[in-house]
Symmetry: C2
């Protein structure tokens, strides 16, 4: 079963996103989310620590997935090539994610300062993780930090572009286009 498909966690995620969109993140309770998903609050807490984690629950897996892709790049790949492999790997990570869910999530985050902060922290954590993976490949710390900042910057812009793109444009295409734009920018 795909990462974004039904099951209790998936249903809770969809229910939460609907409620956050309808009445705002602050005014939604865990009981209401569980109710709409047709499960108990107890089941909610088996899957998520709190109502914020419904939105960010996948970010550790994303981080692991990208770090693994970076580590799997050929030993002689340049730092930027290794980071590019990580950014491209986000395409298959998000391949099954329904665009509408991603849009709803982005709208909820954009409208809630506390969630925007949490999103920034997750992106900073991803940057730190990618820089660490580069240093593990023998890349000098300052260069590793630069490459990681760059890679996460490209990822952020690509993800925002994908959310705003027409429904039939796959995320992989948007990521590749953004990487090309980045190359043109620095040519």
């Amino acid at each position: 079963m795909g990462r974004w498909e039904p099951g209790a966690a998936g249903r809770l995620r969809v229910a939460a996103m609907e409620l956050y969109a309808e009445r705002g993140f602050d005014r939604t309770t865990v009981a209401e989310i569980a109710d709409r998903a047709g499960v108990t609050a107890r089941t909610f807490f088996r899957h998520f620590a709190d109502k914020r984690e419904v939105l960010f629950g996948g970010s550790e897996q994303l981080e692991e997935h990208l770090v693994a892709a970076l580590a799997a790049a050929p030993a002689d790949a340049s730092p930027m090539a290794a980071v590019t492999a990580a950014v491209l790997a986000s395409a298959d990570y998000f391949a099954d994610l329904p665009r509408e869910d991603a849009r709803r999530r982005a709208a909820v985050i954009a409208s809630t300062p506390e969630l925007r902060e949490r999103e920034l922290i997750k992106m900073a954590s991803l940057t730190t993780a990618l820089a660490g993976a580069l240093r593990d490949r023998g890349v000098e710390p300052a260069v590793a930090a630069l490459a990681a900042e760059t890679g996460v910057g490209v990822f952020k812009v690509a993800f925002e572009r994908w959310i705003a793109a027409p429904d039939d444009v796959p995320i992989g295409d948007v990521i590749r286009a953004t990487l090309q734009d980045f190359s043109a920018l620095t040519a």
Copy 2:
């Protein structure tokens, strides 16, 4: 008088940084900061909204300074060249900043999650501002976002490098070296 020199605000900044380093941010009060600076709490609040703003008070001016440098780049400068002008402008913004103050500030922020979040928000705000200034020059939104993410990434890495560098290395040298590393990375 330079931006970082004495006067009540400067003395309050130094006193706050010392106290945060000595006993931690959470356990320092405004009254203690004012006391050490030899002023009243009332004077403290004339300069800063709260004890957090002592650390971040200059970030709006930094943002304005960098946006102005970007806007002043030649009309035919590429997006990356315009962003580079902004990053270079941070050198003269910080020219008078005593390294020891910058180091203390970085250490306090690193050890307090609430302050790390605030720092991330300020950097995100800088990214948004630079992207906006690029769009004002007619740069396509996605390219503007990429260039701004890149510029702020370079700035962050350069600033961290400068803090860790020997005392006689001027910030301008570190910024130029970081920009060169970035060029080499994407060559």
